[in-house]
Symmetry: C2
């Protein structure tokens, strides 16, 4: 088995659509006539992306929410989704979770495919959105002098997964993540760069730095926590919170609740600093997909 | 586990996009500004949709070809694809097959998602096409008096799978199905109804009859075979050939090579006749998805 990074490197040698943005982004941005569509696809496997014993309604919710979160980071309003679904136990619950999530985010089912099979249940969702602001925000627009902002807090999903595993406490942040759709739509006209934080704040901030050819300098103590203070270092590296990370020119206030957690420096290009210290990409910044 | 039919019935209770056409069709037809997009998603599981020991390049080819076949039936030219892929053995071969198929069909990679996981390898593909003719052909447009036509022959994939399993003979029709893209584009302005034959000619003809509220009356001896004559009955029920089934008004000649295999009768609505005899939907018409 190849690593995800080397597989994606191989994919880059294929005929790539200009909208693919070199596959670095979570979304493709496709010009269609006078409209701009935003397309994203996420796949989930039982045992890898959720606990096999989880309520299928939660699985469906998360599948929708993670895709809508990608649209949110582009300031795109949902149009519809295509579902790929492997039948299994709890199909009725899956449909219920799908109903709740589609209704919540104002998305509609466009179609898809249903398959039978044994083995860990697999599902995939393609979400299609309509850009509400052009140019569509990318993760590559951060410029020296910009401030770095974050909606919400980190660490909520970390604590919630522990609660789920322990069978005690509030696990909703892990089971039912909230895509910051309204925030993304409000932010799109103002940001210089934006992305959702799915794999950990530090890893995703480093990705923004790399895509922007800049240095993101973060103040770790400025980052709001949804967990006890002693777990700050872990929370900076934990994924699944789906907050929006974005940059604004200095002096610009965001139109939604958010916290300034750092600034953009000229260089070194594609690097991350935490409390003034350079952090290497290999330093366990967050969830790398395996 | 629910059946596919009851799962789809449950999906119909969800918020459905008007483009979803009640989920009966393989594709969603989405109006975007002045353009019409055609969207389809197919999923494949190792051991269910292909032999686990098959060359991953063939798997990638088939994943692309089956989706492009859905676009072909809509007269849509490919724009791009989103790939959901579970890493496994033979990832490099998978990319090679993807390259061959995307190049062959003039499609480009738009993006997607790569995941790790154990268990039978799952992959999914969303294909996006641009309609070249409006109204976009549907499977629901067959009218009494129309003639029923088929491109190519049936039974090729059946014989080819046997060759693959035996390790002797030509297995290419099963491994590398050809989507009838050029034919679909040429036919779209002329047909009253069109669909691809993925699950068996009789089953798909019955679906066209049901969607059209008409009776499709087929002459079994008129159907061209790609297998020995004694296997005609089997070949009419075998899937994976990806020919196009379409209807034309009487007196209209198709612009591509095709064979007239029957006619459309007023009724009974939603029924299929084979050699003048009524065939029940439950009569093992072809591949039902499990």
């Amino acid at each position: 088995m190849t690593s995800e990074l080397s597989f994606i490197a191989a994919l880059r040698t294929l005929p790539l659509h200009p909208a693919a943005r070199n596959l670095d982004d979570d979304c493709a941005v496709l010009e269609v006539g006078s409209e701009t569509l935003v397309l994203t696809h996420d796949m989930m496997l039982a045992g890898t992306h959720f606990l096999s014993e989880q309520d299928p309604a939660d699985v469906a919710w998360k599948l929708v929410a993670t895709n809508i979160s990608d649209l949110a980071a582009k300031g795109a309003e949902p149009v519809g989704v295509l579902l790929g679904y492997q039948l299994g136990d709890g199909d009725a619950r899956f449909v219920e979770g799908l109903r709740e999530a589609l209704t919540h985010y104002g998305a509609a089912l466009l179609g898809g495919d249903t398959v039978g099979g044994s083995g860990p249940q697999a599902s995939g969702l393609t979400a299609i959105g309509r850009a509400t602001h052009r140019p569509v925000p990318s993760r590559g627009g951060a410029r020296a002098g910009d401030r770095v902002w974050l909606t919400g807090a980190v660490g909520a999903a970390m604590v919630a997964l522990e609660a789920l595993r322990a069978g005690a406490g509030d696990s909703s942040a892990y089971r039912r993540p909230q895509a910051k759709l309204a925030e993304g739509l409000a932010l799109a006209p103002h940001v210089t760069a934006m992305m959702d934080v799915s794999d950990g704040l530090l890893l995703d901030a480093w990705r923004m730095a790399r895509a922007s050819g800049a240095c993101l300098s973060l103040d770790s103590t400025a980052v709001p926590l949804a967990c006890p203070e002693p777990r700050r270092e872990e929370a900076l590296r934990w994924g699944d919170d789906y907050e929006l990370l974005f940059t604004l020119p200095a002096g610009t206030a965001p139109p939604v609740a958010a916290t300034c957690i750092g600034e953009v420096l000229e260089g070194p290009s594609g690097t991350l600093q935490l409390d003034g210290k350079h952090v290497e990409a290999g330093d366990n910044l967050g969830f790398e997909h395996h």
